[in-house]
């Protein structure tokens, strides 16, 4: 069951095409798993469209510029139908295949190798350029990430399985944004572990015990 959704205002910004690309990527992936937000966005888009193309919008009669444009357009051929390109729709770790939301599939080819972060936690970086630092993180059953906060913000989408971070229990499809007010300690007790997709804009800040020693190296995590 999905219990954590993007805020309604974020769905509005997304639908208008006004949110940043990292957020758009996250929300789009969430919509692939969440019917509720998917329908909300369809409604928002038709409201935006109705406003934009309202009958009451005053418009001037078309001038010659428009008429020239129109005749250029009607000279164009019909668009060819697009043949679906075959792309990898899942990522693999240790013989386990994880199906991805549609919008993330394009990025499988830009995903680096898995490396072990700590104990039972694995990470594969996703090259997204200046969109943000993105990673797939996989927690095996019993795997945990030391307690940390974030200097910037961390967006997380559960792609498969469940995890708990001491604040709440997250199921697949759940979307969260953590910032420096949240301290959390993610771990998974799910039999198949848990795969999440995260985008962070700043390194993590470890807060508890011996893990504080990791702070100087925190740029190595989830970078």
């Amino acid at each position: 069951m999905i219990s954590f959704h993007p805020k309604y205002t974020d769905l509005q910004a997304f639908s208008a095409g006004n949110c940043n690309t990292a957020m758009a990527l996250m929300i789009s992936a969430h919509l692939d798993m969440c019917q509720q937000c998917h329908h909300d966005c369809i409604d928002i888009q038709s409201e935006l469209a109705a406003d934009l193309f309202s009958l009451s919008t005053p418009t001037a009669p078309l001038d010659s510029q428009y008429l020239a444009m129109m005749s250029n357009i009607t000279d164009l051929p019909v668009a060819k139908s697009i043949v679906n390109e075959a792309i990898n729709t899942s990522i693999e770790l240790d013989g386990k295949y994880f199906e991805l939301p549609r919008v993330l599939r394009r990025h499988v080819k830009n995903t680096g190798n898995w490396s072990r972060l700590l104990g039972k936690v694995w990470q594969a970086p996703v090259e997204l350029g200046d969109i943000g630092k993105a990673n797939f993180i996989y927690m095996e059953k019993g795997g945990r990430v030391p307690e940390h906060t974030h200097r910037g913000s961390e967006m997380t989408l559960v792609v498969d399985g469940q995890y708990n971070d001491g604040i709440a229990e997250y199921d697949c499809g759940d979307f969260t944004i953590m910032n420096n007010q949240h301290k959390h300690l993610p771990h998974s007790e799910a039999d198949d572990g848990c795969l999440v997709f995260t985008i962070v804009d700043q390194p993590l800040h470890f807060t508890a015990g011996i893990a504080r020693l990791l702070n100087p190296f925190s740029h190595l995590f989830f970078k």
Binding site: F14, G17, T21, A24, L25, S28, D32, M33, C34, Q35, H38, I42, Q45, S46, L48, A49, A50, L52, F53, S54, L55, S56, T57, T59, A60, P61, L62, S64, Q65, L67, M69, M70, N72, I73, T74, L76, V78, A79, S81, I82, V83, N84, S90, G95, K96, Y97, F98, E99, P101, R102, V103, R106, H107, L128, G129, D130, I131, D160, G173, D192
Partner: protein
């Protein structure tokens, strides 16, 4: 010509939104079936000036605004056959096209080179999804081979794999269709893919 078109616009202005949507859907159908320029001119007269106000606000200059109007209306002309009025109104369709083109234009302007494209982030609403059976010949051969492999899967796994890979459905859609939890769809997919991979290895 000039006067004629402005009159049409006024007539359209006097009707209600629902009727307008129906009327525009009708024109789109005729454009799709007959490449009818007159029907397109009705759609164009209504949407192009309204798009321009949107585009000016978004792009901040006249030249870019008109480029966005032109690109959007070109898509309408070239893809009218993809519009599906059962999935929504012409307004919503045209809005989502304009929004996506705007995103791509802005990224291009800022010289962003990442591999993201608006149609991935925001699937265009009210369009027919491409027919999954339309695959190239090369691909077809592999599909036949895979068909043989799929038949060796347990029925439940096979149904899920077919729905996702052949019909192109999302996992959530599959969950709804079969009335099973999303997690079950995921585990069935995973098991099936593992199995297929093993079989492919044995083939080598």
């Amino acid at each position: 010509m000039l006067v004629g078109i402005s009159l049409e616009t006024k007539q359209i202005n006097s009707i209600k939104p629902i009727e307008c949507a129906e009327e525009m859907s009708g024109y789109l159908r005729i454009v799709a079936s007959d490449r009818c320029k007159l029907s397109f001119s009705k759609i164009f007269s209504y949407f192009a000036p309204r798009l321009r106000s949107y585009a000016l606000k978004q792009m901040g200059n006249e030249a870019l605004a008109m480029e966005l109007v032109q690109d959007t209306m070109s898509n309408v002309w070239q893809k009218s056959h993809l519009f599906n009025s059962e999935k929504g109104s012409p307004s919503t369709w045209i809005f989502t096209i304009a929004r996506n083109l705007r995103f791509d234009m802005l990224r291009k302007q800022r010289n962003r080179k990442e591999d993201v494209c608006s149609d991935d982030l925001w699937p265009i609403l009210c369009e027919q999804t491409p027919d999954a059976n339309e695959v190239s010949l090369d691909h077809q051969v592999t599909m036949d081979e895979i068909g043989v492999l799929l038949d060796t899967l347990p029925e439940k796994q096979k149904l899920v794999i077919e729905a996702i890979y052949i019909d192109g459905k999302s996992q959530q859609e599959v969950a709804d269709e079969f009335d099973i939890p999303l997690g079950t769809v995921k585990s069935r997919t995973r098991l099936a893919l593992q199995r297929l991979k093993e079989m492919l290895k044995d083939d080598d």
